[in-house]
Symmetry: D2
Subunit: 304 residues, 4 copies
């Protein structure tokens, strides 16, 4: 498969779409990034890397951090994790409290904000500094020591964390948060502020496409069956409440972030990451979703 040529083709075809969509505007650090920027990277399980655009530029991974946090919590608790957070698509907005009220403080899945707060609560209970533990975990997954979180982004987000604080206290009122809500929200916010590039993110997610093993180091992250199950979870819940539409169009398990990144995996073959800050109405990168749709169309490779 000529991945290199396909990536160039996608980049070229995307030109009219770059700059479309709305850049996340609730904090200046995100609002000031141009919607025209674009990068994409494929990392195969064999180790080969293919890139186009700004594939080495770091951006704010935001909700993509939920994927790694969930994996780390799953390492700690295994299937016991699902006692506290579900595995179903939410059917409502990523920051809705309605479902939480109807279902007694148990979030639908670990990829909506409420669920990610429960996951972070698990990490906060186990690690002195949950955000540091997560950064360390991601460094091991990606093989890149220089990864960290952006303090300015974290600081800005904390000014806009009322909704997450509401959720944390709400779950605490149902007994589904063990640590102090403010501590959990702080750690969660710093996780979201981690900066990574497309290449780094694709490397970090590659264990999911490789039966749970990091190809470059041989480290077993989770067993093969669990890697498949985490991929299944990404597929049904990874792209906010547009999961059905995303799977229909792209056909790959994926996790998106409001910073414009999307990471996806094709089991047995590769992980791919795309970045473009302009978002569609559901909060997924508009150009990024198109790029992935074209990738599976051009390569005729998807999970279906």
């Amino acid at each position: 498969m000529n991945y290199s040529g396909i990536l160039d083709q996608i980049h070229c075809d995307l030109k009219p779409w770059l700059g479309k969509g709305r850049v996340a505007s609730y904090i200046p650090e995100l609002a000031n990034i141009s919607a025209e920027r674009f990068g994409m990277a494929i990392v195969r399980t064999t180790g080969e890397v293919f890139c186009t655009g700004e594939a080495d530029t770091r951006f704010s991974i935001q909700s993509i951090s939920k994927l790694f946090a969930c994996t780390l919590a799953f390492q700690l608790l295994g299937d016991d994790l699902w006692q506290r957070v579900g595995r179903e698509p939410s059917g409502t907005a990523f920051n809705s409290l309605v479902q939480l009220e109807a279902e007694q403080g148990k979030p639908r899945n670990p990829f909506i904000n409420a669920g990610a707060l429960v996951v972070t609560d698990v990490l906060c209970r186990r690690f002195v500094k949950a955000e540091t533990a997560l950064v360390e975990f991601i460094r091991r997954l990606s093989g890149e020591r220089a990864i960290g979180y952006d303090a300015a982004v974290a600081h800005s987000e904390l000014q806009h964390a009322h909704r997450n604080r509401a959720m944390a206290h709400f779950m605490a009122s149902f007994g589904n948060l063990k640590m102090p809500p403010d501590l959990v929200v702080d750690a969660y916010t710093r996780q979201c502020a981690i900066s990574m590039s497309c290449v780094e993110l694709a490397r970090a997610a590659l264990f999911l496409a490789n039966r749970g093993v990091v190809p470059s180091t041989g480290e077993h992250i989770v067993d093969a069956s669990s890697a498949k199950r985490l991929s299944a979870l990404m597929l049904t819940c990874g792209t906010y409440d547009a999961a059905g539409d995303f799977v229909y169009r792209v056909g790959l398990p994926a996790k998106s972030g409001v910073g414009g990144g999307i990471v996806a995996v094709l089991p047995g073959e590769m992980a791919v990451c795309v970045w473009s800050p302009g978002l569609d109405a559901n909060g997924n990168s508009l150009a990024g979703t198109l790029a992935l749709e074209w990738l599976t169309t051009f390569t005729e490779q998807s999970i279906f």
Copy 2:
């Protein structure tokens, strides 16, 4: 009207009902009060007082404080208050966040928790210590200087304030809270911990039955039209989501609290307060509601 005889009759008939219902159990200070206790007081606009049972025993007024806080905020803002809180029955539980999400952080009315937090936010913005200002206001309404809040109750409630904190942060995320959420929740919690007796509460509410004027002092609290409108608000929203049923049975504007108190007014005639800690499924005093229903039946006096 032989109020004295009627109160004795009610007290006597209620004997089999005292002890029924469930005492609020989320804090020990409320849980340890016997469901068998009972007191009732009528204060006429003429100044006459009629009592039965423990009408002079102080109890935790809890949500009845919302009536006085709302009146004080209305003194400050007038009808501008309704920009930030509605005047409609909620149709859902007193601590639900569902409505709040659907209606962009504007609570349905000032007598559900979310609405009372907005009211307290108004007071916090105006007064250095909102709870102290409210206590002072209630002292003037009731003519009783010794009224204050119970620090032990307030302290216990703060351990169980996650849901109220969730609401406060949630409204802050919609821009409908001006002061820091934690400060507002603290003040609100202390307001709820105010202790008063049946006689004191009936006296304090009497201005509503007297065209906005405190009969004993002549102090104008609100104008006659506003007194009627606050009574209307009590009628449709004062007894949690059982307002329809309560109006159907009792036929008086009333505000209840989880401590077992209910204060009601018959415009032009009297204010009445009843206390019995056993609650029905809606959180209103079971024996207290019966007592009021019998009062309007025996006297053939209601607003209808």
Copy 3:
């Protein structure tokens, strides 16, 4: 009280408001009526009648029929009626199915469409032709033999009855409809198509202000206590989901219809009916609500 002068004053002051609001447009028979029309009538329990504007012009009473249907069903079942329909404000739109699903097919109150369909089901079970029985009942209440329903209106409404049919089948699926849904919807639709004038409607509602007795004939419709309770129900549930606001502004138990009519009662004193087809956002007559608000302001008479 100079009701005659007050009515004239209201009519005069309303001039700038007539024509405001939106006339119901889902059927041509309603859409073709000018929003500028206006009539108002007061009938005292003493028999005196005061009018202004087109107080003798018949219009489509629409949801006001729910008041009479509910009274008739209450005559049949008494408080057993509340096994099948609640007495609480709905908190949602008059034709919402959400509440119905959450509460297992039991409507919140008899004045929303779902509740009125249950009431009609009661009448359909008892009478061969429910709509004829209701017309006959209203004739007795108002003392006017010529009242009937408008076949053209009924026919048009049946073309737009999908939502009501949906509700009827939905309640049938919960076992809360005893007769065939299509039969119930047909009868309900004809009830809504009854035509009456302001004077006729005020006369028909007068028993509620007169302890359950029709003043002109002495017929006992319900006992005094039940008349008060039906008034209480009107107050909390009679004006769609604007009941709180309506009570706050007007301070009288009332029932409105999408044809622009509102009937209200002041217990012990009078019934009043106003008609103007322009509706506010909640579906209540815009000028009609103003007229009633001014009436209680000018006369300083309300239930509070």
Copy 4:
């Protein structure tokens, strides 16, 4: 792959589970079937067939018919179909009206009842008898002429169709049903009453695993890309509101029915159908789901 041995192993291991779960009981034709029954069939794209248990016994396919009806409607309208029905998991029960009200009569996906009614409406508009057209379509997919619907099942279901009628009228009130609601419900009900065996169902679904082509006849049902997309839709929406959990455990696109059948596909390899009437809390076959979970575990074959 020794499918034959694996199926026997599964059948053997399932023994303790057969008879568990609750058989659908709303009509006698389903209620009278023993929960102990079990059949399973694999049909490979190469034509090989592997069976265990009662793989040739016909049962009521119920909601599995939605898969074929949706395919047929997609043949007619292509992506225009998604103007009238969404592609997102519902997040609520299969027969809920709440989502429908919030989203203006557009069902979330074609595999919940509301969505299937819209699909049937499309078929009713195109074919004189929609149910006959669907039966004919399934005969071509499966290569079995003797397939038809069970008149007794259809007749019984029509006695319990109030909820579906409610949905149909509700969507009609939003303009999202073109044909008369009663006609659509009748056709829909007969579709659900189609009887097929595991082998027949696996054969009929095989085009989805074979790039849109029926292997045995070479008939092009949909293009390769559309076959993948329909599979994606099954994955996210095919198993009621347990889709997330099902994908997590089984890892295959699948459609279940309340008769106890589940059909699933492994793209490029096979279609599989399992039948056992005992249902879990979500309405999916309890033993059937286990059988599929074990199949993907034993074979290490899933889409992930």
